[in-house]
Symmetry: C2
Subunit: 333 residues, 2 copies
């Protein structure tokens, strides 16, 4: 599969196919994000929610519900819920990471202050649970409360494990599930739940979101050592400079000899970096085939995502979701 | 009513009366606050939850359920839920306020870092919703999601209104409901909900918690201009130095002449404070009877709390809750 600028991308095709639902999601988000008593809340959320994200997660929920034949009103509530949880975690992440840019614009913590970012994140989180209550489905609340706990656990784990050379692929996977995959898998699963899909379909939707999220994060980590800043909005080596132990490095550390371990310890654990260290890191990643092995992992997760969909009905949305899995790994294929 | 050190305080009497339930709440909190994948979470929560708070909010929930004749297992879940939400807001508040002490011990943000405080707060919030799901009651989720939204709105409102001399008593009340009363009123209300109490009883429990929380906060604000640091853990004038527009000052500003308004603008809005300014503030509060008027408000809210209970069954817990309302205003009576 090959995509150039003139081809419609899979998430664009999904957006078009589900445009009525996405318009309703937008309207609901705008309605629920305001607070009559605290006007600053709308300033902050409008800044973030208007920042031109792809709305990938709400799209996943609508697509999953559509795939399971749902025609009721509540997929829209769940899609807005998922976007609220996502926005709340972005607000808190930007404080935690001391970020200055998000989607090419200054972050809310830079424009307002960390205090507002923390409190408005809390507000959106509470609002997301109000939206779920509207659906009248306890199972939806259970799934998204679990996902929210997994997200925080993953982020806390990242704080403690990110610079620790003992961190292995198992821990990396837990962190990635928390940071990225847990909300994707919950987003697709609740689409099945609201449609009263059979358990096997619900599980397949969970597996799709989980594998898609993991593939997405691995590609992101890989491009950090080999993409270009135009494509990703990141510079090569950002993760290295920020001493983040991502999958390519974990694989290279596992294969390292004594001198190489000392290099990783100095640069990643101790953060003592000098000119030329990034080049040396890239050389070691190549030497041990860590880039290629990481690439193969990403492709395998994308395949897993597609396979999961095979038990679901062959509706147009299914092919679009499969294409999306291909698209996620397109830049490293 | 008069209390000295040897008399059992109302919250102690409640704790003793509900000791089996409170032991179960403790056990459930300890079980649910840990995270297998992120051990740091338990360090932080143990620090806070073991910090010797009165557990007033979970006590309110158990007391309300008991008052409505509930004998099932889920009041304990709701009591733990309320304590988790309270702990999550404390963790985030300490980051927002840049606090260094809480209950006489260093705050978590000082011992670990702001990042952990934000993320562990999010984790506890997610855990609280998991506990609510266990009860199988959507109405409980609705009430506590609404309370959580009100808490964040109140805190955001405080950020924008706290130093603004135009802030009136209406806004003050909104802030106090968010900061303090919303979780008290939700804590007592859900105790009634789980007991399937009639609507009038549920409303009475809400009104009790609301009025108690407001009385509690007004007393706190009053003592800041007239208590002593032994009793409150605060020094006289802390709110003044932190430029917080609390109820006594709002009343004094409303009665101020031009020169006095200039004084409040300089000290509270602009934060330009000099030696002797606190004495001048205390003189103006006395001159306009602002201290006495604030005291009367606190007593009126305490009375309102007690009156609300009159429709509820005359069980032993009811008298203890009435005594608690008296106790809250005891220091300013």
């Amino acid at each position: 599969m090959s995509l150039d600028e003139t081809t419609e991308k899979p998430h664009e095709a999904l957006s078009r196919h589900l445009s009525d639902g996405m318009a309703a999601v937008d309207a609901l988000i705008r309605e629920r994000m305001v607070s009559e008593s605290a006007p600053r809340i709308a300033d902050l959320t409008a800044h973030l929610i208007g920042a031109g994200g792809k709305r990938l997660r709400p799209l996943m929920t609508l697509a999953a519900a559509d795939l399971c034949g749902y025609e009721g009103p509540y997929a829209v509530h769940l899609a807005a819920t998922v976007e609220f949880i996502h926005t709340a975690t972005l607000l808190h992440d930007d404080v935690v990471d001391e970020s200055e840019q998000r989607r090419g614009r200054p972050t809310a913590n830079l424009l307002w202050d960390n205090k507002s970012s923390i409190l408005v994140g809390d507000y959106l989180f509470a609002r997301s649970f109000q939206l779920m209550v509207d659906t009248g489905r306890l199972r939806v609340l259970a799934i998204l409360a679990n996902a929210s706990a997994t997200i925080s656990e993953g982020e806390v784990l990242q704080l403690t494990a990110a610079k620790d050379l003992r961190t292995g692929e198992d821990t990396y996977l837990k962190i990635v599930r928390g940071k990225t995959a847990a909300l994707f898998s919950a987003a697709t699963q609740v689409g099945g739940v609201i449609a009263d899909a059979p358990e096997a379909h619900e599980q397949a939707l969970f597996d799709y979101g989980d594998a898609l999220g993991i593939a997405f994060q691995i590609v992101d980590d890989l491009l950090d050592y080999g993409g270009n800043s135009d494509a990703t909005g990141k510079n090569i080596g950002d993760d290295f400079r920020e001493q983040k132990l991502t999958l390519p490095v974990i694989k290279a550390v596992a294969a390292a000899d004594e001198a190489e371990r000392a290099f990783w310890k100095r640069t990643i654990e101790d953060g003592d970096q000098q000119d030329g260290d990034l080049d040396e890191a890239l050389r070691l990643l190549a030497k041990h085939g860590a880039m290629e092995a990481t690439r193969q992992d990403a492709l395998a997760w994308a395949d897993k995502a597609k396979e999961a969909l095979s038990v679901l009905p062959d509706r147009p949305v299914r092919q679009m979701l499969m294409d999306l899995a291909d698209y996620v790994v397109e830049r490293v294929r």
